[in-house]
Amino acid sequence: MKLTESLSFRNVKGRPARSAVLLILTVIMTAAVVCGIMTVSSLRAGLGALEARLGADIMVVPASAVSKKNFENIVLQGSMGYFYMDSSYYDKVAEREGIEKVSPQLFLASASAGCCSVPLQIIGYDPETDFTVSPWIKKSAGGTLGDYDVVVGNDLSVFVGGTITFYGVECKVAAKLDKTGTDLDTAVYTNMNTIKKLIASSIEMGMNDFRDIDPDHSVSCILIKVADGYPVDEVLNDLNLHVRRTKSFRTKDMISGVSDSLSGVSVMIGVLMCAVIILGIVILFLAFTMSVNERKKEFAVLRITGASRKKLSGIVMSEALIIALSGGVIGTAVALLIMLPFNGIIEESIGLPFLMPDALMIAVMCAAALAVSAACGAAAAAYSARRISRIDTGVILRGDN
């Protein structure tokens, strides 16, 4: 005899089929909430990282790049396209007014490297003038970046101090960058001299992909930090007007496209989440109403054995909470099992910067989802609880004959 086990718990256990259905429902509900908020916050974080990572106020690319489809990818995914302009533009840009910092980058692709299964980007940059890559170095071997030294994105599984081979050229990993949640996480940065050697080696190996690129006289983009006191828009207009055959973008505007599609996706996820929650509450509401109605007589029996009206509602509420909380715990676990191992796939299918929150944030979100699940259970059962507390014992027990 287990008098200490609560009556609500026994009632939940005593109707396994009904409880299982309701449990599955709350599992789905909570899992949807956890996945939803994790996805939205990952997208937010990804956007924030991309914004910070771009670091520059203005990006200058060849005018011809704008029409290319791959330009879109730069904006959306931080992946680089392949377009080039003469490096003399660098000087032209640098001598305009209102420019504090300016640094060129050269985009190169590598189909494969010694380390990695994914195609990765090789980006030539100028460590002397750079102001967009260095701030994101997470771990560095120290010293200045010399020839054959590379800075790698967070997703490359190589250690700082290790080596990585491109086109038969062995490079030393001098530093690793923070995660951004974009294709930049598989990028490799190196100085222009090293790029030159890589190109030479690739041609030697019979790969002619880069034959047309003259690394001494080519850049893919020029990054600009506007000097204090100069409105970014004015500098932008000035560049677009006076540096011909290039197109200058305000990085914020490039991001605005991302943030537009991000808010679109967020709204969609939010709507779906609300729909699942509302549907869940409605089904739970119907289920609790039916189940309590069905058991009116049992509640009348509890009443004659001494249960107060408060106690009757308490029993109904705890039944709901037992289901909502256990469903919530399982649902949270299910969501984590989906989100943690598969966030790469999710990231790919959404095609937006995606940066998972840290463990503490995830814990907070799970707690919030549990609270939502409990609140839904409570809301769905409140009506039944109230109704059963007004039970008219006499009427119910008469109704038999």
Binding site: M1, L7, K13, A300, S308
Partner: protein
């Protein structure tokens, strides 16, 4: 415990406009004899159950007072009255009344799930076992209510009403759907309870029950009289 009602009345409103009032129980003065089996007979619809429910603290009277040892129980709040009922009043309702997620033993000890009290679990259990033995359902301890016959369920309900050794047991037609053998068993048990000092107030149709009764009352169209 002295249980007395003074002018206790119940009216039901029959139509939605509230114009058609039904007097289910006309003002009734009654004192339930201590340690006796009181029988309440009467035709169906005469107000027996309504009176019983009011006396058992389950139905608030339209007017009049009900006192247990001098205190007006309908003046208590719901929590206090519920606890009072739990500790002092046993009710055997009409029909089948089991909590289906609990087994027979747990059903019998139901009131301890609601108010555990300060008795040891062993004491409660051994009293439940004694009761079950007396009622002939000792082997059913772990059975679920759905596996029981009508007579067994009724005996379970009797044990549930008696487990806290109440001062009074109210039984509403406890034999109405039972065969002769089970009827006799139930009447015997209630008689024995009365003889051991518990007041018993029983509503019944059973003519034979009069042989067991110490006091017989009759109800007719809401009016109580001694027969």
């Amino acid at each position: 415990m002295r249980i007395a009602s003074k002018g206790i009345t119940k009216e039901f409103i029959r139509s939605s406009k509230g114009t058609n009032r039904l007097v289910a129980v006309a003002p009734a003065d009654l004192e339930i004899a201590e340690g006796k089996l009181t029988l309440l007979m009467g035709r169906s619809g005469s107000g027996k159950s309504t009176l019983l429910n009011m006396l058992a603290g389950l139905l608030t009277p339209t007017s009049g007072t009900l006192t247990y040892d001098g205190s007006d129980i309908y003046a208590m709040n719901d929590d206090a009255l519920s606890l009072f009922r739990c500790e002092h009043i046993g009710v055997i309702p009409q029909g089948q009344t089991a909590v289906h997620s609990l087994n027979v033993l747990e059903n019998i000890c139901l009131s301890y799930m609601i108010y555990p009290g300060n008795e040891s679990r062993e004491a409660v259990r051994s009293r439940a076992e004694t009761l079950m033995k007396k009622l002939g359902i000792a082997e059913l301890e772990n059975a679920m209510p759905s596996e029981l016959s009508g007579g067994e369920l009724r005996r379970m309900a009797i044990a549930r009403a008696m487990i806290r050794e109440p001062d009074i047991i109210f039984a509403d037609e406890p034999t109405c759907d039972l065969d002769d053998e089970n009827t006799l068993i139930v009447l015997d048990i209630l008689k024995e309870a009365a003889q051991s000092g518990t007041s018993v107030f029983m509503v019944t149709h059973e003519k034979d029950a009069e042989n067991f009764a110490d006091i017989s009352l009759e109800m007719s169209s809401g009016t109580l009289s001694e027969s």
